[in-house]
């Protein structure tokens, strides 16, 4: 727990026996959950598991049927809904920007609602654009003129305005393409390392949950909280069959995300002419540009970036047409080659370390 909080309670939000019913249908069933301050907590689960409903109950976009939700130690019903909502950021799947307002005015929405002057709200909005990696030349544009990824960044900037200590994110990256999504995920982690807000993030994608979450809450169909813990705990010891099956068949692979690949030897490039390959790595300006075999050039696989995880290392080996992974530095320059046997040996070593055994 970071030492940044001013309040006594280490938990920003607490669900206490919270139930939500629509008629006779139980959407959320007796939820007890404490969300730690300054961390990213991911709600993950299949459709209809109540994860979004639980998120929306926090800012009273959905009213809970029974139980109590404490926000910074106060029941969230203690203040009027609009005041509660202005105190937290909210990011939706389709960004939900106001199409008739410029980007800068969209970001300034909540400060303006709180009575900040137009001038200082705009100044703040321009700073926030830089914070989330948006060019301030976009400030006067309208949302229709942005790409999906840019719109989502504006959505995040808007949620950060007014210094809200709590951010609610409802499947914010699920409508953008995978490349942009990866960008946005990295950006969120970078932002969080600087800002240390309490973020509640809803997704149906377990990979996203594992990547982003300091903590993960797995919801099961019927609105039951199946497990709460760190991603590693959930992958290592699923609480029940539901979590085990939801976490999925690839969980062995996923767990390699938590293991560094510093043990894996990077062979110098000159060794590519050794008997184990007739493949030759094509290098342009020091960067890898595919593999050459029989005079043909074949596009290369994923690259292992220096300092990456064991999962990245394994993928670089498996996806490479030559069966040999390519390691690069942060600028994309070739460092050397990864051999599959070295990577497998590293996964073995990692397993031994994890369980503290030698066989």
């Amino acid at each position: 727990m970071k030492d940044t909080d001013v309040l006594d309670s280490p938990n920003a939000i607490e669900f206490k026996s919270v139930t939500k019913k629509y008629g006779d249908v139980v959407a959320v069933d007796n939820l007890n959950l404490s969300i730690p301050r300054g961390k990213i907590t991911v709600f993950v689960g299949p459709s209809g598991c109540g994860k979004t409903t639980s998120l929306r109950m926090i800012n009273r976009m959905v009213e809970h049927t029974s139980g109590e939700i404490l926000v910074n130690g106060e029941p969230n019903t203690a203040q009027e809904p609009h005041k509660l909502r202005r105190s937290m950021g909210y990011v939706l799947q389709q960004a939900g920007l106001m199409p008739h307002r410029t980007i800068v005015d969209n970001i300034a929405t909540v400060p303006r609602l709180n009575g900040t002057s137009a001038k200082s709200a705009r100044t703040e909005a321009l700073q926030l654009m830089e914070t989330v990696g948006l060019d301030t030349s976009l400030a006067k544009r309208y949302p229709a003129q942005l790409s999906g990824g840019q719109a989502q960044r504006v959505g995040v900037a808007r949620a950060l305005a007014s210094n809200s200590s709590i951010l609610l994110m409802d499947e914010p990256f699920s409508a953008v393409d995978p490349v942009v999504r990866q960008d946005l995920q990295k950006e969120l982690l970078r932002l969080q390392s600087e800002l240390q807000r309490t973020i509640i993030f809803v997704t149906h994608d377990i990979d996203e949950a594992v990547l982003l979450g300091d903590y993960v809450a797995v919801f099961a169909v019927g609105g039951r909280l199946a497990q709460f813990g760190t991603p590693e705990e959930i992958l290592r010891e699923p609480a029940d069959d539901f979590v085990a099956s939801f976490v999925g068949r690839d969980r062995g692979m996923r767990r390699l995300t938590f293991a560094g690949a510093s043990d894996v030897k990077i062979h110098p490039l000159t060794s590519q002419h050794t008997p184990w390959q007739q493949w030759e790595l094509k290098v342009e300006d020091g960067k890898p540009a595919g593999w050459i075999i029989d005079g043909r050039t074949i596009p290369g696989g994923s690259l292992f970036v220096e300092g990456g995880t064991l999962r990245d290392a394994l993928d670089s080996v498996l996806s490479s047409p030559s069966g040999v992974g390519v390691a690069v530095d942060r600028n994309g320059k070739v460092l050397g080659l990864l051999k599959s046997e070295d990577v497998l040996a590293a996964t073995e070593a990692e397993r031994h370390r994890r369980y503290g055994v030698n066989a």
Binding site: R86, L92, L113, Y142
Partner: protein, 224 residues
């Protein structure tokens, strides 16, 4: 052409009267239609539409839209003649025209305004609610501006059809460019009738263009 040159001040005066009788009912009718339409479109507290969710709200919407449409089937001349009886005005009072035409504008605009409010993205309204807008402020700041594009299409039709309908008032003696038709017919002056027709068309074209320009400015955010 000679006739026009000789009667320029007269035509100008009739054009001004025609203009007033065209614009005032459109403004009044639109102002009346917007609240009716907004009430016909049910919304939940979070801004999502209830139409299609509950039988009651579907009925309410249908009742309002169809009643409005029914008003349009009353013949205009009958309405002009009926007005003095209802309002207690004299038969030649311009008020008759204002009120009767306002009813027609309402008949057309309620439908457009209902469509306009339904065209507003529920996600946007929901996100506005989640930002902390209260319903009334959300209506003025978000919902109404976003309904403008669809409403404007209806408004242009209402304005143009209203300009043509103003002429009918001439039959009961209320002055407008339509007076040139009745007068020209009585005095057998084709030139006067043609001036009346051309004048009405020109007026319609100018006002429609003007409205389109205002609309383009109000919806400049739509151009990607």
């Amino acid at each position: 052409m000679n006739w026009l040159m000789n009667n320029l001040p007269y035509v100008g005066q009739l054009s001004a009267l025609h203009l007033l009788q065209s614009i005032i009912p459109v403004i009044a009718g639109t102002l009346i239609s917007i609240p009716i339409a907004r009430l016909a479109v049910g919304r939940r507290r979070d801004g999502r539409s209830t139409a299609g969710h509950t039988a009651g709200s579907a009925f309410k919407r249908g009742a309002v839209v169809n009643t409005a449409a029914l008003l349009y089937t009353i013949p205009s001349l009958a309405l002009f003649v009926l007005m003095p009886l209802v309002l207690g005005t004299s038969i030649t009072s311009p008020l008759n025209v204002y009120v009767a035409l306002t009813i027609y504008v309402v008949a057309m605009m309620v439908r457009s305004a209902v469509d306009a409010f339904e065209s507003v993205s529920p996600v946007t309204l929901e996100s506005a609610t989640a930002m902390g807008y209260k319903p009334v402020r959300r209506f003025w700041a978000v919902e109404l501006p976003l309904a403008v594009p669809v409403m404007l299409a209806g408004l242009r039709v209402a304005l143009v059809s209203n300009i043509s309908m103003v002429s009918v008032g001439a039959v009961i003696g209320i002055q407008s460019l339509g007076t040139l038709f009745t007068d020209g017919l009585r005095r057998n002056l084709p030139a006067e009738i043609i001036v009346g027709i051309v004048g009405t068309v020109v007026l319609a074209l100018i006002l429609d263009r003007l409205l389109a320009l205002i609309g383009a400015w109000l919806t400049r955010w739509r151009k990607a």
